[in-house]
């Protein structure tokens, strides 16, 4: 049986070649991802480190300077994997594989450290994902997962939802919302505590508002395009024009605000 097509994965794959463009990388999401990667600590006793949703391999290539650690990056988007393989081809300690949170292509109890930067909210099955995470982690493994929380991007969402409703209709709009698993802090803790030791788990929550120009924000739109493939092709340009107008209507002295509600799930040794 052929697996169902995931529009998020397909869109990321289609846009892989432009994903590392300056506009995206210098956008609020690029900056937030940089901050998350900069906070990761590679310990000497790690043997296998896993990056879930490795994308084009930016974090892997930055973190893999320790030759004694084996790094594995997994991503379900084929063209993202191609970009990641190309970027990391000089690093013999990095492997790029097809995989996702719901299906990690590694042996049980094999991973010392897992991290993921803004990918977990795209999972299609939260329960299966936390089971799979628990399966591959060694006892005593550590983990840092960064993903968006329930109130992410609220300013923009308030202004643009009525527009998307008009172009998509209620059924498609709600299908699109179901693609994002945006949890509250407490929900995230409860979810991960079903499969991982609660005494070693913690969840940190942050709200950071980034101000940018219209073009600056439009630069990261590639990251969410997959949710809007239900909009008829002949209406997409018109819809984009209205969305850009809604973004502009938020502009203040500092620019157009966008608040990233970030959840950071940590698993640490006691």
């Amino acid at each position: 049986m052929q697996a169902a097509i995931n529009p998020i994965v397909e869109t990321y794959s289609r846009l892989a070649k432009t994903y590392d463009d300056d506009l995206n990388q210098h956008s609020c999401w690029g900056l937030a991802a940089e901050r998350a990667v900069a906070s990761l600590v590679m310990k000497d006793d790690y043997q296998l480190v896993l990056d879930v949703g490795c994308g084009t391999g930016r974090a892997l290539s930055r973190l893999s300077c320790r030759p004694h650690i084996e790094f594995v990056g997994i991503d379900p988007a084929k063209n993202m994997r191609i970009q990641a393989t190309e970027r990391t081809r000089r690093n013999p300690n990095i492997k790029i594989l097809d995989g996702c949170f719901e299906n990690i292509p590694l042996e049980s109890c094999s991973v010392d450290y897992m991290y993921s930067i803004f990918a977990f909210h795209w999972t299609t099955d939260l329960e299966q994902s936390v089971k799979e995470i628990a399966r591959v982690l060694k006892s005593g493994a550590e983990m840092d997962l960064f993903f968006i929380g329930r109130n992410n991007g609220w300013e923009l969402i308030q202004r643009t939802s009525p527009i998307f409703l008009r172009y998509m209709g209620p059924a498609l709009l709600l299908d699109s919302a179901r693609m994002r698993k945006q949890l509250k802090k407490e929900e995230a803790f409860q979810l991960f505590a079903t499969t991982l030791p609660p005494e070693r788990l913690s969840v940190k929550e942050s709200y950071d508002t980034y101000y940018d120009t219209l073009e600056g924000h439009w630069g990261w739109w590639v990251r969410i395009e997959g949710q809007f493939i239900g909009i008829p092709a002949d209406k997409r340009q018109e819809c984009n024009r209205e969305v850009r107008g809604a973004m502009l209507s938020l502009a203040g002295e500092k620019g157009i605000p966008y608040t990233i509600h970030q959840l950071h799930v940590m698993l640490r040794r006691v």
């Binding site: 609220w154 969402i157 308030q158 939802s161 409703l165 209709g169 209620p170 709600l174 919302a177 945006q182």
Partner: protein, 97 residues
């Protein structure tokens, strides 16, 4: 007990929205059965997903949003009417099969 009348469903939905509405950036918004929940910023699309799940569980029916008018979908009264129509259609289908 399962709500049967529009007024009962409206009460249930208004109660749920009051408890779960978004507070970010909203000044005081008076919630009536005709308030546009999306334009007013009280619910985002995930909020609507959660509300539909709540209504389906309370009314023990599936709410089909295919071909629903967006204007009807965003008010409490409109949503309740959609749900009651679905409930009625489900009963009609069950009694004829």
């Amino acid at each position: 007990m399962k709500p049967q009348l529009e007024i009962e469903v409206v009460d249930l939905v208004v109660g749920w929205v009051k408890k779960n509405m978004q507070t970010n950036g909203n000044g005081h918004v008076e919630l009536t059965e005709n308030t546009d929940l999306m334009e007013s910023g009280l619910l985002d699309s995930i909020g609507f997903v959660e509300l539909i799940v709540f209504m389906e569980s309370q009314m023990a029916c599936n709410i089909d949003l295919t071909d629903v008018d967006p204007g009807e979908f965003t008010t409490v009264q409109g949503l309740c009417r959609i749900a009651l129509r679905n409930d009625q259609a489900g009963k009609t289908y069950a009694s004829s099969h």
